[in-house]
């Protein structure tokens, strides 16, 4: 066990050299933040109570983590075994994303010790969308932990526990998908009462639906992006013969993303036409809206479709990156950029807010790497033979 805890691999990698100073600097900034107040390190103001930490870390981060509920749906509910090899890595990513990005919410709370109130029922604000979202975050983290727990049990060699935890998976998956549906849309619903503050091109009573649909292709694109990197970084964890199988999976994901994006684009167009927004296209905000919708939804949507048809892996990767940029744009537009678009003094993040955000991302990657190098996250995935049921596979592994 002790040997497991020691660092594996070289210490002076480019990633470590960049990430360690940023994590340390971020921790320093947090000390200032918790002693001198949020205003000492952020550019938040009375007009912009929510900035980069909420708009990017939480709202965007959670959309990116949507892959876990999509993949568990496909594999455990629809029983598409083709995608089984990526379940563990995706669920781990989702779990860590929630712990770190939703956890970043705590940094933004002015009085975080009172978070106990909505949890223990000191006072339940049932009417609050945020009440719903925070509870769903919490429950979903537990569901994802249950989904991932067999891997931990396998790592520790607890066979009986492993069997028991496996039996919980379907329940956790169904519960998790339900919670995801509600809190992905709930994040959008947070902005429903900010109606007079959000530019009409971005405000719609259907924000919750748009957030839900976009979390599908955000999650799928994140799996493609993150999987591509993981497959290079952790290549000694993976059987080289299985790279072809991963390509097949990527094209499947790309197809799903293309369809979800087209649906999303269609919704956006319907809302746009229905609300008679033609005249709003005539200024900077109209241009900015078109950049988001055409450049970062429609273009990557067609790129995915083209790439699937002609089996062009490179195009899929570029499309995934464009899609992720589009999601960042969309979430930041609603939460920061087109929020109080007419304010005299606009908000932009301070360097400290960006450093802390990078700290959160790097810390998440550190933990991800720590787990992948030890637990059977990637390894297990590629020992699986297609067409086997998960139960059978478990037994193969334990012998």
């Amino acid at each position: 066990m002790a040997s497991e805890m020691r660092p594996k691999g070289k210490l002076l990698t480019p990633f470590n050299i960049i990430s360690v100073p940023i994590i340390l600097l971020g921790l320093g900034i947090l000390v200032v933040r918790f002693t001198k107040g949020l205003g000492s390190v952020t550019n938040l103001s009375q007009e912009f109570p929510w900035g980069f930490w909420i708009g990017f870390d939480v709202i965007t981060g959670v959309a990116f983590a949507g892959g876990a509920y999509i993949i568990t749906f496909v594999v455990y509910v629809m029983r598409k075994e083709k995608y089984h090899p990526i379940v563990r890595a995706t669920v781990l990513n989702g779990l860590l994303a929630y712990i770190f990005y939703a956890g970043a919410l705590m940094l933004d709370l002015g009085r975080p010790w009172n978070i106990i109130n909505p949890i223990i029922g000191n006072d339940f604000g049932f009417n609050s969308v945020l009440f719903l979202v925070s509870w769903h975050f919490m429950l979903y983290m537990m569901a994802e932990f249950v989904e991932f727990s067999p891997v931990v049990a396998e790592w520790l060699g607890w066979k009986r526990v492993r069997g028991f935890l496996d039996s919980l998976t379907l329940g956790a998956v169904i519960f998790g998908i339900t919670l995801s549906t509600l809190h992905q849309s709930g994040l959008g619903a947070l902005y429903l009462m900010a109606k007079p503050k959000i530019h009409p091109l971005w405000y719609s009573e259907f924000i919750p639906v748009l957030f839900l649909v976009s979390s599908i292709f955000a999650g799928l694109s994140m799996i493609i992006f993150e999987g591509t990197i993981s497959h290079r970084v952790f290549k000694d964890q993976i059987d080289p013969e299985k790279h072809g199988a991963f390509e097949d999976i990527v094209f499947g994901l790309a197809k799903g993303a293309a369809i979800a994006m087209f649906v999303y684009y269609f919704f956006k167009a319907l809302i746009f036409i229905h609300q008679h927004h033609w005249t709003l296209l005539n200024d900077f905000w109209g241009f900015w809206y078109l950049v988001e919708i055409l450049g970062f939804v429609l273009v990557p949507c067609f790129m995915f479709a083209y790439a699937v048809r002609h089996r062009r892996l490179g195009v899929v990767r570029v499309a995934a990156i464009l899609t992720l940029v589009g999601i960042i744009l969309n979430r930041l537009n609603i939460s920061v950029i087109a929020f109080k678009w007419d304010a005299a003094v606009k908000y932009y993040p301070s360097w400290q807010e960006i450093v802390v955000t990078l700290m959160v991302i790097f810390a998440e990657i550190w933990v991800f790497r720590w787990i992948v190098l030890r637990m059977p996250v990637m390894r297990e995935a590629h020992e699986r033979r297609p067409g086997r049921s998960p139960a059978l596979d478990t037994r193969t592994l334990e012998t």
Binding site: F34, T35, K36, G37, L38, G39, S40, T42, L44, Q46, E47, P49, W50, F73, Y76, V77, M78, R79, L105, D108, L109, G110, R111, W113, N114, I115, N117, P118, N122, D123, F124, G125, F126, N127, S128, V129, L130, F131, L132, S134, L170, I174, F175, I177, T178, T181, L182, S185, G186, A189, L190, Y191, L192, M193, A194, K195, P196, K197, E205, S389
Partner: protein, 280 residues
Amino acid sequence: MNRRDFLKTAGIAGAALTARPAGAEQPAEPIEFAGVLVDTTRCIGCRSCEMACSEEHGLPVPNIANDNALAAERQTSETQWTIVNRYETSKGEVFVKKQCLHCWQPACVAACLTKAMYKTTNGPVIWRPSKCMGCRFCMVSCPFDIPKFEYHEWNPKIQKCNMCFERLQEGKRPACVQSCPTDALMFGMKRDLMEIARVRIYNHPERYVHKIYGEHEVGGTGWLYLSAVPFEEIGFRTDLGTTPYPEYTSDFLYGVPLVLFGLPALLLGLNLLSGDDDEA
């Protein structure tokens, strides 16, 4: 039955299932909310209300003789729950007091997940420090941008007018109303204040625009305003609509129990249907 009604019915059914505490629905004694009528034609911009407010709530007292604060339009802040602004209008100089309007169905209260923002039974919307976790969702939701946050405190508070909630309980009027030398502020039940406001407009149709701000805005507010000039000229937003803000999220919230119970059933069904070559 349209979609909205369907969602509502389903939501109520779902809400019943999840056993919400039924406090608000129980028939109780009729509630009347208190408020204040602000007659901007009477305000002389002396800012006595600002001083009285600061003294009452232990906030820094503005030096009204020398600070030249009327030169530019101000907002309430974490150190000033109320402020008076000066506007150059088509009918000359107008002074307008600004503070929390104490909505009948406040967005901030609906937003609060800890019930720290709380609509008391007699009208004031108050903030309760022991409950607040500082998420600032109230600030995002308030259509008037009234709640203010102490960004430079390790233990920050939300600062906003509480209509002198403690004084009302002692049977006194709010400090600002008490301090007003020209009767520009009048405290009372909204129903009475509406009558008084209408009588003033009726008796002096040439002096007032025929609108009472707060009668219907965002579903009605506790504070009401009379003006000689259109309200846009004196810093009011007139595009906020008459829908109570909590209603913007109610459709979504009514849908929650539906999804919470319906979706797992659907997923389980899909799972069983898709299990062709498995034993399940």
